[in-house]
Symmetry: C2
Subunit: 115 residues, 2 copies
């Protein structure tokens, strides 16, 4: 609870479990435990061929691609996203992220604590 400045690699990595997740790992970089009451910063890695669940929920995503090549599906639309891409997934919209490149896909994905 206070000022924090650490390399992301020092933060614990967890496997994302679930039947529709494949090869996805997450680090919760900034959370309520740090005193962040409004939104959380998360860092994801998806291995080549891996993907997140094609699902919908009541909260938005604010995403920034750091490395690799992503196919983002959102409702009826698909877009290819490379490093430097900014992605907004509105609330209640079915979506997923798929690694369509040859190297590990790395991105930040932030979510609110309150809808």
């Amino acid at each position: 609870m206070g000022f924090k400045a650490v390399p992301f690699s020092k933060i614990k990595e967890e496997k994302v479990e679930g039947p529709e997740f494949k090869g996805v790992k997450v680090r919760w970089l900034i959370t309520k435990e740090d005193g962040a009451e409004n939104f959380a910063m998360r860092y994801f890695e998806i291995e080549p061929g891996g993907h997140s669940a094609y699902h919908s929920h009541a909260w938005e995503h604010e995403t920034f691609i750091l490395d690799g090549e992503c196919l983002v599906k959102c409702g009826e639309t698909e877009k290819r996203a490379t490093p430097g891409y900014v992605i907004f997934i509105p609330p209640n919209t079915i979506h997923n992220f798929k690694n369509v490149g040859n190297k590990v896909l790395k991105f930040l994905c932030l979510v609110p604590y309150e809808e």
Copy 2:
């Protein structure tokens, strides 16, 4: 208002004005205009020797260093932050970001819409 996936470079760059800001530019990547009601994603560049204001406000910062070398001052503490550093600045804490390297400092800095 809807799904958005664009390179950050397509988003308008603005100079940050103010007597205590030096060499700071910002792009508001995701905002309320996109339908993001809870928090905004911003991309900053600070030129070598440049810095943001040493100031305090009621909202937190969630920051991720993309490139360059940063000296972050927060209250009584100073930390050097390089690419991959995660920084949390709590609300109501005096802070600033200074480029102490030889190349352009690039980072994401997200802020809530409600405190």
